[in-house]
Amino acid sequence: MTAVAGDARPARPGPSLLAARILRMEIRHSAFVWSIPLLAVLFIYDPFRTASGYPDLWTVRASVVLNKFWPDCVPFTAAFSAWAGSREGRRKVGDLLGTTARPAWTRQMFSLLGTLAWVLAVFLAGIVVIYVRTAQVATWGGPPIWPVVVGLVALTGVSSFAFTLGALFPGRFTAPIVAVGLTVLALVAFRQSVDASGGPIGTLSPDSLVPPNDAGVFYPMAPDVWIVQVMFYAGVVLAATGLLGLSPRTGGVGWRRALDAASAGGMRLRAIATTVFAVGIALAVTGFGLAGTARTSVTGEIEIPALHDSASDKPIAYTPVCAHVSGSFQVCLHPAYKNYLSQAVNSFRPVMAELAGLPGAPVRATEVASLTLPAFVLQDNVGDGEVTGTPPVYKFGMNNALALAPDATQLQDGFRQDIVHAVIVGSTGQLTASVGTPAQQAVVDGLLKAAGSQPYPVCGPGDNPNANRCRRQQVPVTAAAGRFAALPAATRRAWLAANLAALKAGRITLAQVP
């Protein structure tokens, strides 16, 4: 037997080389790859198809990133991350790996990154497809970055959490249990909280509701909620990865020793793990606390008072896109809705051919932010609008119009019904929407019928006693409307020119309608 072996050993490999080689190996062997075909099918069926059916607006279409694609990715991310995390325990290589120089934490980080790289790459690829498709049709604005950031951080949180659970409780059933658990959390707990619009859990859920069409169009989207979500999920990431470095079950140093080391101020791995864990918990708790302070802002969005920048409450400057409808009457839309301009023109044209130029009739139709319209207008009909000002201008919103009218015909009817109603009946200024006097209703429906549109919806849909009674009462109105519609256009216009003021004032009876 001889003396101690010599110490002359070449330097250890650089961290970049180690990272590149091990990461390449982990990426190559990540089981997540097997889920990609299924995820692709799910992507086409769910987020992509849904986004393609949404209006051509960046904010609305980008919402599928979080409320469709993110939940779709959660079960796969959780399952394969937990599977990767449990690998050392399942394969019983703990002793073998425990004798290597690299700390267990470093080794596990590479394993986590190997799965995470696929998760994030697939998620980003899906986003690119959605954004490229949206870029082809959107006429204003650009791709929102925040949903991407939130989605990436939240998926990283799911992956880290699941990986740590897998490492702490290795077993062949860990992955499916974690996948089911986190999916239930994402799809049930989060979604219910969102639907109930309640509490910090709902605010923290990336699986949010589809935003209004006007979101980010007239007013900037305040990043408050997104910042809180990023804060919370970044906290989850750090806490989960810190836990990996601390728990003796995952090759970590143990809680007591870690705390001793941290209190001694040493920058060793266990101190770093302790710090990472503590910062993660602090971030997550702070995020949760801030989410609890959420409230509705003046622009109708959710704001976090501690983070809110009042600059995001100021309207965005824009140059409207306009087109002539009939005579001097023109319609102007926000450039984000440019694709709907011809639809709006075609909708307004037949009714404005009869109304334009009459006393009190609007000289222009201008789209405005829906939230600037009075509540009694918003609850009225699909084409939300009112005639105000001098000269009178018909101000209307596209927000509800696009949200409530699933096809072009309904959208067209909505536009016509609302502008005719606004000109002939006007608003009462009260929350209870007015359908007008029988004579007003007859004229409105007559004009709509002449234009080939459905009558103004007075009775509501469905086969119920109230609606049926209403329809029976509407019979004389419908008959008068038919008579009015049957008149030559010039006769209708002449009668309106002579009687519009009296009709609006309610001094014309149904019998007086020609």
Binding site: M1, P10, P13, L18, I22, H29
Partner: protein, 252 residues
């Protein structure tokens, strides 16, 4: 000395797996023999720095494994083959060995060469790109040996290394052990006394957590003279020493 143990014990609950072992080992091949439950695997796991001792002092390669930085340095120069080799079935032979080379901090410029050499030394060059799931038990054992020697260790710990190897592979492996033992300290835990006779320069016999014999294989053979238990001289020495130890005397 590459291994210095001073009164080392390791307990699992009430069971004392290693009981006051003191040992100094330099370069060469030390065979550790003993019946099931004698404490061989626990001793090797402590030497491999994966199991801390319940009491006593351990110094490996002149360093204290309790110290984080020194333990890391020990591990860079350590090779270990556990009794039950866990592996990743989807990895190829080369990937698995390279994975361990990287984790053992083999210098960057030497990784490829070290991996290739280790794979060749265990005679798996022809299956270098085969996935581990496709290999036989004996081949997997050789993969385990390859990962253990990939960093050209100064301290090599092998727990039942020849289990599953066919006779031809076993002969080759013994030659490899002798070769490694020229510069490094190799500790081989085994049930197979013929491995000890053929490859080990020294032998230690454990029973009930204690080392009951330490000496040259020839000395163990000499202890067996006159005893009728066992087919081979080493086996007779093995049983003679165990019998003596169990009667109360620990042979030196």
């Amino acid at each position: 000395m590459n291994i210095e143990l001073t009164n080392v014990t390791r307990s699992f609950g009430r069971n004392r797996a290693v009981d006051g072992v003191s040992l100094e080992v330099g370069a060469g091949v030390l065979g550790v023999l003993g019946p099931n439950g004698a404490g061989k695997t626990s001793l090797l796991r402590m030497l491999a720095t994966v199991l801390p001792p319940s009491s006593g002092e351990i110094r490996l390669l002149g360093r204290d494994p309790k110290n984080t930085a020194q333990r890391r340095e020990i591990r860079r120069r350590l090779g270990y083959l556990p009794q039950n080799l866990g592996y990743y079935p989807a990895f190829t032979v080369v990937e698995f060995v390279e994975y361990f080379a990287l984790l053992k901090e083999v210098p960057s410029g030497r990784v490829h060469k070290a991996v290739a050499e280790a794979v060749e030394r265990v005679d798996l060059g022809g299956r270098a790109k085969a996935r581990l799931r496709t290999l036989s038990g004996g081949m997997l054992r050789r993969v385990g040996i390859a990962q253990a020697i990939v960093n050209n260790p100064d301290l090599l710990l092998l727990d039942e290394p020849t289990a599953g190897l066919d006779p031809e592979q076993r002969v080759g492996f013994r030659a490899l052990l002798r070769d490694l033992g020229r510069t490094a300290t190799v500790v081989v835990s085994t049930h197979l006394v013929e491995d000890v006779g053929a490859a080990c320069s020294e032998v230690a016999l454990m029973d009930a957590g204690r080392i009951v014999f330490r000496g040259l294989p020839a000395e163990l053979v000499a202890r067996g003279e006159g005893h009728g238990v066992g087919d081979a001289p080493l086996e007779r020495g093995y049983s003679a020493v165990l019998q003596a130890a169990r009667k109360g005397g620990v042979a030196a």
